[in-house]
Symmetry: C2
Subunit: 338 residues, 2 copies
Amino acid sequence: MKMTDVAKLANVSPATVSRVLSHPELVSKETKKKVMDVINQVNYKPNAVARQFRTKETKIILVVVPDITSAFFSEVLRGIEHVAVSSGYQVILGDTENSIEREAEYINLLFQKQADGMILLTARLDKAKLEELSQEYPLVLACEYMDGLNVPTVSIDNVSSARNATEHLIQLGHTRIAHITGPINIVLSRDRLRGYKQAMISHELDIDSAYIQEGDQTFESGYNQMLKLLALETPPSAVFVFNDDMAMGVIKACKDSQLHVPEDIAVVGFDHIKMSSIHEPNLTTVDQPKYEIGKKAMDLLLKQINGEPMAKKKIVLKDQLIIGESCGSKSLKVLGSS
Amino acid sequence: MKMTDVAKLANVSPATVSRVLSHPELVSKETKKKVMDVINQVNYKPNAVARQFRTKETKIILVVVPDITSAFFSEVLRGIEHVAVSSGYQVILGDTENSIEREAEYINLLFQKQADGMILLTARLDKAKLEELSQEYPLVLACEYMDGLNVPTVSIDNVSSARNATEHLIQLGHTRIAHITGPINIVLSRDRLRGYKQAMISHELDIDSAYIQEGDQTFESGYNQMLKLLALETPPSAVFVFNDDMAMGVIKACKDSQLHVPEDIAVVGFDHIKMSSIHEPNLTTVDQPKYEIGKKAMDLLLKQINGEPMAKKKIVLKDQLIIGESCGSKSLKVLGSS
DNA sequence: TCAAAATCTGTAATCGTTTACAAATAAAAA
DNA sequence: TTTTTATTTGTAAACGATTACAGATTTTGA
């Protein structure tokens, strides 16, 4: 059943049917009714691929996520989806499972005109490729980012938020502060590590390289890296951890070593995922405005698609240090960074 | 840059370029090289929409998920993706956020030929619509299902697994066993409730309707419903909970009421999400073969797409009761159901 | 050496919409 | 009434790939 069939049944030209569907204001009330009746009667659905082929528009936005398992991204997605749907776009997701190849495959979808734009929540590809892509297609980076990359980006300032989190531990009197990083090939890991170091140095505390351990974002690796730290001759009295999942692993490792959090060891996480406030003790952690990041990213993307000018290409949103029980701080105040 | 341009540059016909790309075995080595050189030189990417339009194939599978936040689905997705990719298909995701309207929108993508097939991990739409859809397009239901619906489906037997879980509590000597259900408009909730009742009845235990509370799948609702149960004159000594998220909420409610799990209250969850084994005490819970469900679902879908016959339209996989600490059972054996 | 078969390439139609342009009709202005 | 303008509809080309078919060339076998 195609448009010409509908046209024949309604005794009009295919063009008229098309207009009823796409530009109803151009058609008289009577013909509109006549055509709509036929459409409903035969349950005609226009072939979207043919339409996309002709109009060069898909009304689809592709969002590429490094790991849908991560509780962190879902909230960002909600923000994206909210703006997208209210502008007539559908959002589809690509999960790369942290694989660069998969990331490249999804990017191909854009090259092949299968989506009108793309939001990357991961940026593991090389800069040149991304820049080239961004030259030709609407593209926004969110959450992750890349130094010196000329692509619209929405994120928080990971250096200052990590510095802030570390300083919180310093203010509580800790001096032996360790840091469990994320995979060091990710900018986020490197920036948070830098923030940690800045805080340590500016308070004239030694940075013991044995106190810096690389994790892989999982609960288990948090657990394992913490056991390593506890095995040191002088273990740390506090740990700043790359994300909440690992922070929970860290706490488990402490418990299994007969240590109490926060009495014996203070722990700060990152992301403020839902579990972090359910967990016992609940975490002191850095909260990113996830929903807002998603909204802003989609805003930027729409501007590109519609050829509107962007006020700023880089948007840095504010984070918040959420004070939980895992540092033993008595205060409940909220410290804003950046 | 389109195919005819490449053809001109390479001094061949567009047909030959197309063949180099889609049926290279039909082209001589020399022309192939000539064409490929031009393609690489000008960085030509075929327009996928045009190809889809002509071939009526998208090589895309749409997976519709009720809630990507849920830790449960990601593993199912991995299974789907694994099979899909190895057969040359790309998987894209639609998140309905539990909204029926959104579910219908994604289904439209199929009607509009934007995907070659669809796997629904949710089934809230009415039976007639689904059956109609399945008549016309490759469709598979997984995890959720529908009574008497003639659509290929992969799932576990929720009745028997719930019965099994409840019987585990009975075998441990419990008689006052409560059940916190999921949203009762979902089959899964109704089936698990049925399994619970079957176990109670077959062991001649009373079913106190105050012992049955409806939750909404979230941690918070588990917490709240449990507080209600604890407020009863004779509170239950054990609770079978619809899912792990709520089960963790239940345990939190117990802790906050100065009760110990499992000493004072035994708790059984459902899904065996990652957190359930990290949680303290870790949960006794029903494990679904998530990855396997995904693989089988994609297998069934591919069979439909390729017009191959299906041995069975309904596949019921085995679940497992994972014994954790939340019931105080000393044994570590694994009980298979169904 | 020549016919038959196999291999390779080109021509042109096709997929289902949308839309520029033209034509026809109706409404408004003179 | 006639001219001008606005409204409504139809005609036909276009989007960029694929593929049936035919024609050209090469290879094979007798």
